[in-house]
């Protein structure tokens, strides 16, 4: 029997598992998908919000501000790209001024530092590409950007280094509590544990009730995005928000940590949480609304479009803490935005609550994160010379658009929670993230995966089971066998 089971390997589940790995307990993370970060965690805006938009006194406000403060040091420790680029919340009419004032006051109440309202001239001086329609903006200097899936991978790796076991491709069907033991039925059989932690994203409402919580409604809210190629000059250095509406924070225009331009998201309530299609209407809306901020918008350099589904709890707040009555059950449910920003804090707060409630003792040694080497793409001449000398496979550039080496791809597959698919390699290394979208490198990446995983080329998948790249060999096809 495992002592603790965490359901869900998104950024929340991985953060909680990592924080729990400081304690003396066996821990297993169950994840429906084939990889960690496969739900909302891989497809969101990648913003570390400063904490001005949550209502003071809520869990959202407290955990957001606390989490955001943890980001710089945590990303440094885990080797995750993060940048404190600041944000601007832009008002496009005088009637929006009230909203800016309200956000400013909320921010002050929540303890966000450095907030100020900028008038048009100061705003244009800061961001010359901003629309002429902009009248004022709330300047949020502590807002940051992060690669959300790289954050999740790093949290998972660090957890695994400290003994956490990850069971991927394992969907939880039901849970029940009998005689002090949790029985977790999955599509791969039954697991048992003493302590159960629900970090199941879109599924967190169902589990919340099954674990003894009051009925909880989760709405699946889809957001569609465009990613643009690295421009010669970033149109904006800040994350450019529009004044929020009740459906969300509006459509943003933002740089990413990898110097792409991100546009989105839309906010559409949908029935199926796995429906991450993009639609022509949704993509058109992204462009139309983003153009308010950025009149010179052009998606001619679009690299891709995608969508993600976030779990919105109709109660409006995060639900973090113990659930049920003395059943050794805990949860972090309804983790919509600013869930990514709050994730480090959720890990700390929830693990401490579990440890004190369950009397867990600290391990004498908590292993540090494996030192991750600097991406080859970001190295200078001297560093590149050394890198290839030390590891000659850095001399083989596999992804020419993003300059990713064979060494980096092999290391991504060999990580504690390593890549097993083309998309897994892509998100861990950026191979295939560039302007050719894997046209040149995906056959090579597939070969490397087949070698590392000791499987046949025809078993290599883009992502989930069923997404095999190839249907067989030409020989089989010619014989009518493929």
């Amino acid at each position: 029997m495992t002592y603790i089971i965490v359901i869900g390997a998104g950024v929340i589940g991985c953060s909680v598992a990592r924080a729990l790995s400081r304690y003396q307990a066996s821990i297993k993370v169950l994840e429906r998908a084939y990889d960690v970060a496969e739900g909302s965690s891989k497809a969101n805006s990648g913003i570390v919000h400063a904490g001005y938009d949550a209502v003071p006194g809520t869990q959202k406000a407290r955990l957001n501000v606390m989490g955001a403060a943890m980001y710089p040091a945590l990303c440094e420790e885990l080797g995750v790209p993060y940048k404190k680029n600041g944000a601007l919340v832009v008002a496009f009419s005088e009637s929006d001024r009230g909203t800016l004032e309200k956000l400013l006051q909320q921010g002050l109440d929540n303890g966000v530092e450095g907030l100020e309202i900028l008038e048009k001239d100061a705003l244009r001086a800061m961001e010359p590409e901003i629309s002429d329609q902009a009248v004022a903006a709330l300047h949020v200097p502590t807002s940051g950007i992060v690669s959300p899936y790289e954050m999740t991978y790093a949290l998972a790796d660090h957890a695994a280094i400290n003994g956490v076991e990850f069971a991927l491709n394992t969907a939880v069907e039901s849970v029940s509590y009998e005689d002090g033991i949790w029985h977790v039925r999955t599509d791969h059989g039954e697991e048992t544990c003493r302590i159960l932690v629900n970090c199941a994203g879109y599924d967190s409402g169902r589990l919340h009730e099954a674990m003894g919580g009051e009925p909880m409604e989760i709405v699946h809210r889809r957001g569609q995005y465009y990613i643009l190629d690295h421009p010669d000059h970033m149109p904006f250095t800040h994350t450019m928000f529009q004044c929020p509406t009740k459906m969300g924070k509006g459509i943003l225009v933002a740089p990413t940590v990898h110097e792409n331009v991100l546009l989105g998201p839309t906010a559409e309530d949908i029935d199926d949480p796995l429906d991450t299609e993009t639609t022509s209407d949704g993509l058109a809306e992204v462009i139309r609304v983003a153009a308010l901020t950025w009149p010179k918008i052009s998606v001619r350099t679009a690299v891709t479009n995608f969508s993600g589904v976030r779990a919105h709890a109709t109660g409006g707040d995060f639900v973090v803490g113990a659930v049920g009555n003395g059943k050794h059950a805990y949860e972090a449910a309804g983790m919509e935005s600013p869930g990514l920003s709050a994730a480090p804090a959720v890990g700390e707060v929830l693990s401490e609550q579990i440890a004190s409630g369950e009397g867990l003792a600290r391990k004498t040694e908590w292993k540090p994160m494996q030192k991750k080497s600097k991406p080859f793409n970001e190295m200078n001449a001297q560093e590149r010379t050394e890198a290839v000398k030390e590891k000659p496979l850095h001399g083989n550039i596999i992804c020419r658009c993003e300059v990713v080496t064979e060494q980096e791809i092999r290391e991504a597959i060999r990580r504690p929670v390593g890549a097993t698919t083309i998309d897994g390699v892509k998100r861990r290394t950026r191979a295939g993230m560039g302007r050719c979208q894997g046209g040149f490198c995906s056959p090579r990446v597939a070969e490397i995966l087949a070698e590392e995983l000791h499987v046949d080329m025809t078993e290599i998948r883009k992502g989930a089971p069923g997404s095999e790249l190839l249907v067989g060999t030409i020989h089989e096809a010619m014989k009518g066998e493929a």
């Binding site: 060999t473 030409i474 020989h475 010619m478 014989k479």
Partner: protein
């Protein structure tokens, strides 16, 4: 019986659209061509169409399959049979470019040859 067929000349990038008049299966008139080669092609295409066939076949001992071609064009109707014969080819590395892979494919008198070498 008179029949008119409109075909596109494939000899060069010009791609002349030619009108071919046939009587009882024999070409009697070609219009729309700009050069003699068009006329020849129209006769050929409407009476005895031929095609080069290129394909790849697996080679034991090599990751890369071998690219092959018919040494000269074969009757168009023979293409499926030609591919069937190629599906049964068993080759082992090394292979030299120009080497015969299938002799007299489908009884056409034309060989299929390798178009690259595999060491």
């Amino acid at each position: 019986m008179t029949e008119e067929r409109v075909i596109t000349c494939i000899n060069c990038p010009m791609g002349c659209r030619m009108t071919v008049t046939l009587e009882d299966g024999a070409v009697v008139k070609v219009t729309g061509n700009t050069c003699k080669r068009g006329d020849t092609y129209a006769h050929q295409e409407c009476t005895m169409p031929v095609r080069m066939v290129t394909a790849v076949v697996p080679v034991e001992g090599s990751r890369m399959p071998l690219s092959v071609k018919t040494k000269s064009p074969i009757p168009k109707a023979m293409i499926p049979k030609c591919m069937e014969e190629l599906a049964n080819v068993r080759l082992t590395a090394p292979v030299q470019a120009g080497q015969t892979v299938v002799a007299d494919v489908c009884g056409t008198g034309i060989d299929v040859i390798a178009t690259r070498s595999i060491a």
